[in-house]
């Protein structure tokens, strides 16, 4: 009987000790950022299109200055295929038909206003290369190593300079970073699916524009007067 009591006590101690270790060292809070939805900043120009996480994923749009976002359409958006035309229509791709189609979506109504046949095998990428490099050659880099993740700007012939650094759980990271069309702002998506806006040199500091975007799908920025994606159709 005495042995049983010792065994139960020792088991409880071992499990509780490990749970305490896990709670202290394993549950590291996510970095917190101020919200642009709650406190819009009128100095930030343009609109941001994004894709929400869910089944099916949905296309959303929000004013880059903050405020509530609008869900436009669901079920016809695909990973990595989001952009803007020069005249302010959102581009996405519909793979549901035998010939993939670029869909041009009106950001005000969510209606499809035009379609353009896409290349069957390799539809043109709409966002990645063009929006991670600014006109002056400044390149955005995302980096992360066990709990600390960084967005850096590398100007030609210079060392990268961090503009945004965050500490969090080891699987927390900034997944993508893209320039605003005017090059004054950086749009960052983190592994929690939050879309952040930060100034080109780190000031103003990061603020959350959208809370629940897909962490592995891009968000893309439009400012009237700046060139968008040319589909060639």
């Amino acid at each position: 009987m005495k042995r049983a009591v010792v065994a139960v006590s020792a088991s409880v101690v071992v499990i509780i000790a490990v749970l305490v270790v896990v709670l202290v060292f394993g549950v590291i809070p996510l970095p917190d950022y101020p919200s642009l939805a709650d406190h819009p900043d009128a100095s930030i120009p343009g609109s941001v299109a994004f894709i929400t996480e869910g089944d099916p994923p949905c296309l959303g749009v929000v004013s880059a200055s903050g405020g509530p976002s609008t869900e436009l359409r669901c079920g016809v958006v695909e990973m990595g295929t989001l952009g803007w035309t020069s005249d302010g229509l959102i581009i996405t791709i519909d793979f549901s038909s035998s010939t993939p189609l670029y869909l041009l979506v009106d950001p005000a109504s969510g209606e499809i206003v035009d379609t353009v046949p896409a290349d069957v095998n390799e539809p043109k990428p709409l966002v990645w290369e063009s929006q991670s490099t600014r006109a002056d050659g400044a390149v955005l880099l995302t980096d992360g190593a066990r709990g600390t993740t960084t967005v850096k700007v590398r100007l030609p012939n210079q060392d990268p300079v961090p503009i945004l650094t965050a500490d969090g759980p080891h699987d927390y990271s900034f997944t993508t970073a893209t320039w605003s069309p005017d090059g004054q702002w950086v749009l960052v998506v983190d592994s929690e699916g939050r879309i952040l806006v930060v100034g080109e040199n780190g000031t103003p500091t990061a603020r959350v524009l959208v809370q629940s975007a897909s962490p592995w799908m891009n968000a893309t920025w439009y400012i009237p007067g700046y060139p968008g994606v040319d589909l060639g159709g």
């Binding site: 049983a4 009591v5 065994a7 088991s11 499990i15 490990v18 896990v22 394993g26």
Partner: protein
């Protein structure tokens, strides 16, 4: 009776025991051994039962998504109740083979309970995400514990230990952010608890409980090392292995000795490769691992003599 018969003949030839005693021992052992034909029948029975379950599973899976939620619940519920009821009947049988069947049926009943609550949570209560795991693991643990208290067999203690792992990890999974990288350490702690409870006579059958605990002790640090990308869990595993080897001599438990030796064989080479692969190179690290493992093997052989005793 092969070896025993020869031994008895030798002992009789040496006048250690009489002819009557030899015949009495042989008669006793023959009566105690199950008939080979009944064992074959039992094995065939399990094989047939397993095939029938697989066939039923394939049949149900084909139409599963077409069934309404109430039909799914009814189907799993009826099967689970059948397993439970048949187990209640079987465990009172005088036949050991039928009693073993009761253990198998109740093990299936725990799986049935898990499935029933999974359908209830997702199909009826619209529970989503990690919260679903609690709806499955809590009832499974309660039922597994209840059945184990009634029938302390191998499969019942396996169900209890498995459900205990599931319930603790499910509870941790509710935290945000989920500390999934640390699940290996939690698995290790439950393994240690299993070994302790088996030693204390709380968790029975003892040998199976030691075995289940040792498996968790082997897996936990290995998982933690991979998920945390750090080497300290390997040291924890090796330390535990040392503890098991020492305890095996004290307890005279061969299962604990084998578990401790297995743990050394799992963790020691990993540690050597972690620290010396880059400095000494793979061939030297491999050689060093081999030499140390031979030393451990000699130590284990010596410990085995201590454990098994004179």
């Amino acid at each position: 009776m092969g070896d025993l018969g020869e031994d008895l003949e030798r002992w009789q030839a040496a006048d250690l025991i009489s002819r009557e005693q030899v015949e009495a021992i042989i008669g006793f052992e023959k009566a105690a051994q199950p008939h080979r034909s009944s064992l074959i029948a039992e094995v065939l029975g399990y094989l047939g039962g397993a095939l029938a379950i697989v066939a039923l599973w394939v049949f149900i899976a084909e139409y599963w998504n077409d069934l309404e939620t109430w039909a799914q619940l009814t189907l799993i519920g009826v099967l689970t109740l059948a397993f439970l009821s048949a187990g209640v009947w079987a465990r009172t049988s005088p036949s050991e083979a039928i009693k073993r069947l009761a253990s198998f049926l109740w093990f299936l009943a725990v799986a049935g309970i898990s499935g029933w609550f999974a359908v209830l949570a997702t199909g009826t209560l619209n529970v989503t995400g990690v919260a679903t795991s609690l709806w499955i693991t809590i009832p499974a643990f309660v039922v597994a514990l209840t059945l184990w208290l009634s029938l302390r067999k191998v499969l019942q203690v396996a169900a209890v230990v498995g459900a205990a792992h599931a319930i603790v990890l499910s509870l941790l999974a509710q935290l945000k952010p989920m500390p999934s990288d640390w699940f290996g350490l939690v698995t290790w702690s439950i393994g240690v608890a299993c070994v302790l409870l088996a030693w204390g006579g709380v968790l029975t059958p003892r040998g199976t409980s030691y075995g289940l605990g040792i498996v968790a002790i082997l897996l936990g640090p290995t998982i933690a090392t991979a998920s945390l990308d750090q080497s300290w869990p390997l040291w924890l595993g090796l330390l535990t292995a040392g503890g098991l080897l020492v305890a095996s001599v004290q307890l005279r438990e061969i299962v604990v000795l084998v578990g401790g030796a297995g743990a050394v064989f799992v963790f020691l080479p990993q540690l050597i490769f972690t620290y010396f692969r880059d400095t000494l190179g793979v061939p030297v690290a491999l050689f060093l691992s081999g030499v140390l493992l031979i030393a451990v093997a000699l130590l284990v052989a010596r410990l085995k003599r201590e454990v098994t005793g004179p």
